[in-house]
Assembly symmetry: C2
DNA sequence: GCATTATTACTCGGATACTGCTTGTCCGAGTATCTCCGG
DNA sequence: CCGGAGATACTCGGACAAGCAGTATCCGAGTAATAATGC
């Protein structure tokens, strides 16, 4: 039980986009080359982000991806949900229906106290993720590693020249 | 991305054991019959709980499973870890090593701020689970549904008579 | 009738197949740029 | 020299396979109760 690989790629890629100004879109090929990732598969993840409204894509000759809104309006939860879906970590299959006194018409996801306890933990996880935006992360990185923005832009310029 | 089916089975089964007194072990067959679960597969999950020291198993003619310690000493996190393993939800593959200025000798699971943010959310989830014991859950259920202990014992008695 | 021994029935435990999702890849639809041609 | 039409190169997007973890099952090792047997 673990999150998919794409979550890490998506977060780092979105973070990179915050430093690139994003005058125009950046292609999948360059974004993948930056971390030596398989381009086609990264493209698949980025498509999920587009469907979720986090990234904007422009097709055609000079197309590419860019952030659809400001970094302060994109939380880590948004990205995780976009990649992994919105299903809760714990899935209650309502086995209490088969137990003594189980009623078929009752929604045990609401009633069952086990389900409730697990849902509360789930909520704690989500709240922590929802409270961390791309803007926060960007600021933290720039404080701890001031050279990162320039280094990132530099690397992308190299890739551009190829 | 979701937790395995076995987690739900394990929690409800452990909860049932708290009501059965557990003078002697309860067999997999009866525990499975209680919720109409596949016996062999449930047995596999219970084995994981035994390995984790949560359940005690006695083999042989009148063998079965019983709680290895008091319900107050068993948290939901213990059960989840026993079934799912102790790996964090978010796995950092350290893609920063392939980025600009990436060093092979640095452990980016410690340094990377993305990894740190995800780890904090992970921790919030685990703390919530660690703070909920079987004894808490048992008390909550008995408060909300006072008939449950007797109904549970009754159903197991029926299964016993077959 | 009673102690002893062989049998039996039932249990856990790990080794063994199957299924679905995550991972990974490919080719087609579409667009801006560039080239070529005519005026 | 300038405008426009066609060709071109490069992009995203969804449809198409492969690998692996979760799911499900079976049979063997071991133990306690039971039945049979001899005294």
């Amino acid at each position: 039980m673990r999150l998919g690989q794409g979550v890490e790629w998506a977060i780092h890629t979105c973070l990179n986009l915050t430093w690139l100004g994003a005058e125009r879109g950046v292609s999948t090929a360059r974004l993948a080359e930056f971390y030596q990732l398989p381009p086609a598969y990264l493209n698949k993840q980025l498509q999920s982000l587009v469907r979720a409204g986090i990234l904007a894509s422009t097709p055609g000759r000079r197309g590419g991806f860019s952030l659809a809104r400001g970094p302060a309006a994109i939380s880590l939860l948004d990205i995780v949900v976009a990649i992994e879906g919105s299903d809760p970590l714990f899935r209650c299959e309502q086995i209490l229906r088969a137990g003594p006194g189980g009623r078929p018409d009752v929604d045990y996801r609401e009633v069952c106290l086990v389900s409730g306890a697990m849902r509360r933990a789930d909520l704690a996880w989500r709240q922590e993720l929802a409270g961390r935006t791309l803007a926060d992360l960007k600021a933290d990185v720039e404080r701890s590693f001031p050279g990162t923005p320039e280094a990132t832009r530099g690397r992308f310029a190299e890739l551009h020249d190829r």
